[in-house]
């Protein structure tokens, strides 16, 4: 085994990746944990090793649980390569000789690119915030609530001027609660949760309240409602300003209201961060309940691509605790596939993990139903920018549909939406929904962007310096 050859690579050091790497290495495999951040934890446990926020009441006990995942990783002997951006996972060549079939991973570390070969990859790429396309969401001063939480965790930063939070979903309430604990300013919380969602979700409430992890969220929500100004039933939102946010305009019960604001924090749930899985060729499906695309996986997280599995929110939103267990399952299955664990051993070891996973997922249906974003915030009006990189509006996408564009990939060719550096992360879900609504069909029918590596931009210099075989060098010189 050379320094660039491992049995298993785990991509992402959030709960799923940390647990997967530790479990796989404990099972005797050589494991490398590749992560873009400088410190482990992913987004949910971001900066858990080094946050300046030492008052543990501010970030709350669920956050500090993340630290418990680090010891097992250290003890397992897995290599941890922080600061490593994975930009490509190439499946094994069908024609390679049996023993030499390897998956090739392209990564950048300290400004230089390299290719890693492994026998199995566990993608633990986590979640990202669902795009929240409203007029003015590109203005400086408008950030995701998740972004605000990263600022709090990594730097102890909170907004100082007039602050409005808007949207729906657990993370919005958690951030509000953390801000209240920290004494940060919240001028108003504009709740966009559609009224009818409550009716649909209520039958699922008992299951939710029985959940050991999620039930706490309800208490937290009630506390925020008691202490902060919460304005419910908000049906339209826009941000206004002259190069920087000045005013948040919202509609409630049919009338428009204006709030001066320096910071607007938007949130309407999270989605699987599927760019790498998609670019690797993993099949994906439309999840009607969570209203998102998710890679197709089996009980162990195995995808449609041999040697590639998924664990955690990247395979479908289940939350941090579920991600951790899913990471362990993917690791057990990888060990089995590599011949380090027989089937019975894998299944036996998985039993308690599956039980824990079920506990962690209890009550999820309530959250999915309650916080399903309202249509106007998923399928915005014509004047709203949907692709931030190329500044393409929803109206332009609709016009392309009228010209014969039937799905996101054609929209890309027509309009360049999704062709910018974010590679569709901030527009893909919206473009899918806008096209589906315009055509009057399900998002499942219109599909999603076919994403291609590099899934993160890489400099030409890095690419040029990649190691090349003799045959390749030959090609440099031959026509």
């Amino acid at each position: 085994m050379s320094g660039f050859d491992f049995d298993i690579a785990v991509v992402g050091a959030g709960p799923a990746g940390l647990a997967a790497a530790a479990r796989a290495a404990a099972g005797g495999a050589s494991v490398v944990l590749l992560d873009e951040q400088a410190e482990p934890g992913g987004q949910i446990y971001r900066a858990v090793t080094e946050t300046p926020v030492r008052d543990r009441r501010i970030l709350g006990p669920d956050y500090w649980h993340g630290a418990e995942l680090l010891g097992p990783l250290r003890d397992s002997g897995a290599a941890h390569w922080p600061g490593s951006t994975v930009w490509s996972v190439a499946r094994a060549r069908e024609d390679a000789a049996g023993g030499r079939r390897r998956i090739q991973i392209g990564l950048s570390r300290d400004g230089s690119a390299s290719l890693l070969t492994v026998r199995h990859v566990i993608l633990a790429t986590g979640a990202l915030e669902r795009p929240f396309p409203i007029p003015g969401w590109t203005l400086p001063g408008v950030l995701g609530a998740g972004a605000a939480q990263v600022l709090l965790k990594t730097s102890g930063l909170v907004p100082s001027g007039a602050t409005v939070m808007a949207g729906s979903g657990p993370l919005l309430w958690l951030l509000a609660w953390q801000y209240l604990q920290a004494g940060a300013r919240i001028d108003a919380i504009l709740d966009t949760t559609p009224r009818e969602n409550w009716r649909a979700a209520l039958p699922l409430l008992p299951g939710f309240l029985r959940s050991p992890y999620l039930g706490k969220g309800m208490k937290l929500l009630l506390e925020v409602r008691r202490k902060a100004t919460v304005i419910g039933n908000v049906t339209a939102l826009r941000a206004e300003g002259d190069g920087v946010l000045r005013t948040v305009v919202y509609t409630r019960n049919g009338s428009e209201h204006r709030l001066p604001a320096e910071t607007l924090l938007l949130h309407q749930g999270v989605l699987p961060n599927l760019n790498l899985a998609n670019a690797t060729g993993c099949a994906q499906r439309w999840d009607e309940v969570q209203r998102c695309w998710r890679p197709t996986t089996d009980d162990w997280g195995a995808t449609s691509v041999e040697g590639v599995s998924l664990a955690g929110d990247g395979a479908g939103i289940g939350g941090a605790r579920a991600a951790e267990e899913a990471g362990r399952l993917a690791a057990l299955d990888a060990l089995h596939r590599l011949g380090r664990l027989d089937r019975a051993g894998r299944d036996r070891a998985a039993e308690p993990v599956r039980a824990a996973l079920d506990r962690a997922l209890a009550g999820r249906a309530f959250l999915d139903t309650l916080y399903r974003p309202a249509e106007p915030f998923r399928v915005p009006a014509d004047d709203t920018i949907v692709c931030r990189c190329e500044e393409i509006t929803a109206g332009a996408v609709r016009e392309a549909v009228r010209l014969g564009c039937s799905g996101p990939n054609q929209a890309k060719s027509f309009l360049r939406c999704g062709m910018g550096p974010c590679q569709g992360r901030l527009c893909g879900p919206t473009v899918t929904e806008v096209i589906a609504a315009e055509r009057g069909v399900s998002p499942a029918e219109v599909g999603y962007y076919r994403l291609r590596p590099p899934v993160k931009p890489i400099t030409l210099a890095e690419l040029a310096a990649l190691p090349k075989g003799e045959a390749d060098l030959d090609a440099v010189l031959k026509h």
Binding site: L157, G161, G243, V244, R388
Partner: protein, 100 residues
């Protein structure tokens, strides 16, 4: 605008860097994007498409709106690079962003 929580502000900033040549300070562990926000810089670039102002949006490396020039290298993701002593951070307008 963003401010530090009091317990952290009291500890002081240890890192000195510049924003468009002006001296600024930050805390070790801050990303460049966080350091910009902590210094009151909300907008860090203008887009090459329309020239519209943009600032950090996702803070986790997916939106590419916090692109800045760091020590002369353009188009770096401010939220993915840690601020360092003596670092020169420049905001990018549409044209400078594309300077090679």
């Amino acid at each position: 605008m963003f401010r530090r929580l009091p317990e952290i502000a009291a500890a002081g900033d240890a890192i000195g860097f510049t924003i468009d040549g002006r001296p600024a300070s930050a805390r070790a562990g801050d990303s460049v994007a966080a350091a910009l926000l902590a210094n009151g810089v909300t907008a860090c670039r203008k887009t090459p498409v329309s020239g519209a102002a943009r600032g950090p949006y996702c803070m986790m490396g997916v939106c590419f709106d916090c692109l800045v020039t760091i020590d002369g290298v353009g188009n770096r993701q401010g939220c993915q690079v840690r601020v360092a002593d003596g670092m020169a951070v420049e905001t990018q307008d549409g044209k400078r962003e594309v300077e090679l």
